[in-house]
């Protein structure tokens, strides 16, 4: 299992890093922390590259390395990196391919954490990172614009966790809407491991839209509840009625982490008309994971 955590500004990235690492730890996943630097105009890309090389020669950190250093120190302070590590100052920047650089910390360090510096358009860079390194989950902050979340879910071939209004101090519960899609099965799997590792309560819901009952959905609900109980995860079940997006956003409170499957709809329809999971991610004021 591989997890990609995209970080930006330091202060805004704390919750993203924290929740991303909690998910990574609970899934025992390798983690790549990526800072995507500003997109550079083609007119100036070589000039910028030469200027940055000059900064490297003068041992002045090029843009982005300071943010990765901060991320590394943050992970150490939170004990996400447990092994004995060298100081970040003692690092090498390795140019791996076009617009991707890896920060190599000299000496002994955690082989489960990768620090990556990328430059360019964020969706393009994250897509390329996921495609090259087969990441299963991409974690990104919720401060970015809604269009970007739409594009991320649409074009990135991994589950996407949008971290919105996450607080370290709150005790969270998982809100798990289920149905008969493949994405929903993956969401159940991730929710189970995450809840078990972090001792979280799970609220399993299914939504009946335009119908009064659906035996198939009720069976999935019961089966999921049994699965969680078997794993000793405290859970409750609920059948909601009405429009899916409205009912789920109403059920999600600010201490919820919503974990939902991706829509099985045609990608072209999703691109032009959106999808329910994307609308939920955009409307909820809490972290939302869309599992693929």
């Amino acid at each position: 299992m591989n997890i990609l955590i995209a970080i930006g500004g330091r202060e805004y990235s704390k919750p993203t890093l924290d929740l991303g690492m909690k998910v990574a730890n609970s899934l025992e996943a390798s983690t790549t922390i990526a800072y995507v630097g500003k997109k550079v105009s083609q007119f100036s890309e070589k000039d910028v590259s030469v200027a940055h090389q000059n900064l490297d020669d003068r041992q002045l950190y090029r843009p982005g390395v300071r943010t990765l250093e901060w991320a590394y120190d943050f992970l150490k302070s939170k004990n996400y990196i447990q092994e004995e590590t060298n100081d970040f100052n003692d690092h090498l920047l390795v140019d791996e391919e076009n617009s991707r650089m890896r920060v190599l910390l000299k000496g002994k360090h955690s082989n489960k954490i990768d620090l990556i510096l990328r430059t360019g358009e964020i969706i393009e860079q994250l897509r390329s990172e996921v495609q090259t390194n087969n990441h299963n989950i991409t974690v990104i902050g919720g401060g970015s614009n809604k269009g970007m979340h739409h594009d991320l879910v649409q074009f990135i071939d991994s589950s996407v966790l949008v971290v919105k209004n996450y607080s370290f101090k709150k005790k969270y519960k998982i809100l798990l809407p289920v149905n008969n899609s493949v994405g929903s099965n993956n969401a159940i799997e991730i929710a189970e491991q995450f809840a078990k590792a972090n001792k979280l309560e799970v609220e399993i819901v299914t939504v009946l839209e335009n119908k009064s009952s659906d035996e198939n959905l009720k069976k999935i609900l019961d089966r999921t509840a049994k699965r969680f109980s078997k794993s000793r995860i405290k859970n409750t079940t609920k059948v909601l009625e009405g429009p899916v997006v409205k009912r789920i956003t109403q059920s999600a409170s600010d201490d919820s982490i919503v974990m939902i499957g991706v829509s099985p709809k045609n990608p072209i329809m999703k691109y032009f008309f959106g999808s329910k999971p994307i609308s939920i991610a955009q409307k909820c004021e809490c972290p939302v994971l869309i599992a693929k």
Binding site: F43, N54, P267
Partner: protein
Amino acid sequence: MNDSYKIVSSSILYWFSQKKWFVFSILIGLALINMSTPVGLTVSAYHSLVILLMVFILVTSQPIPFPAIALLALVLQVLLGVAPANEVASSLMNDAVLFVMGSLMFAIAIVHQGLDIRLAKIIINIFGRSKRLFIAGLMLISAVLSSFLGEHTIIAIMLPIGLSVIRNIDSSKPDGKNAVLLTLFSIAYGTIIGSIGTPSGGARNVIMINYIREFSNITIDYWDWIQYAYPILIIQLIMAYFVLQFAFPSSLDNIQLQGYKKSVAKSNNATNIRHIFSSIIIAIIIVSWFLFNEQFGLGIIALCGVLIFMICGMVSWEVINKNTNWGVILLFAATISLGFQINDTGAASWLIDKFNMMISNLPEDSSFSWSFMAIITGLTANFFTSSATTSLLGPMAIELQPNNIVFGMSAAIASGFSFLTVISSPTAMILYSTGLISVKLFFRIGLLMFASSIVILYLMSRFYWVML
């Protein structure tokens, strides 16, 4: 649903989302070509304007790589009958393109010598007596060097100096952030303003010199340009100094200049001979630009500089090849070629006639057309970069008053006012890439500089240039 169908449709959608501006420009091009040719224009002239519009959309939105845009412009010129293949090929290479190539390579060779430490020592020796003088010195040195060696060279050399100074600023203290921004903007504005000073300050200057020579039969040499542009540069520098003091008020108490002086003094002097030798090469090239630009052209002289650096083993071909932006060179070649075709086919004259008809109801005063031209070129350059703007709009600016260099010179200088957007110049882009300044901040401060620069240019062209 079939998984392979999902993958294929998702890939197509992704391609479309990334290339929508390319699709848009092609559709616009096709639609315009299928419309009837406007009265007064030949088919080839009309097609050259359609290609101009397509190139403009593609360069501003950048959905495909620059070399692809350049090739598209060249191919379309031939396919749409704007000019025969041989004519397009011959208009592709001239001294302006050689200068773009030479100056980009020369910049890499210079930056590779690590002259920033030497420069930092000189700045400290001359301007180190007070913090405010030091900041003014950063701006002045950036401007003077940039005027001869180009802003892309100087910003790469000055940025480590600026960031080393910033490392000695306590930005957590009151007005510390202002001191950081003051330092960065002083260097940035110095290099941007400096680039208007001499023909070698920016490719746009050389492009305009070539256009004026071709279309107006007027020759402007290195010294002529300096006489026209340097006084503007000096006034702009003074203006920029006060604009920045006003925008970022700081007591500068947070700058630990002593700490910076110590770190510079401690730096390695082992590369002394290399520094001296590279300074001699740079001086020879600048003097050659002054003395021999008429005989050999600025491009050939810049290439001589690269040649000397390479023959002396001071920079390898691998370094130059890796860091030269070949895409930009190809794009400039293609846009300059298109600029020639726009003029040769009569499209530029047609546009100017239309413009003159449009303003015929206004009082007859060249100030209006001058202001329109200067503001349009200045604004376009902020979204399209200065050299590309000059190569495409230059012929039209000259056409406004073909026997007077004022319009052509003003267009080239106004296109150097890249104060508004971070994509407009290498300086702005490099500064933005540090993450220390935002797009909004750059625009806010730049707006004041842009407006005042246009006013300065107007006054100088009206009252000073007539005396030359």
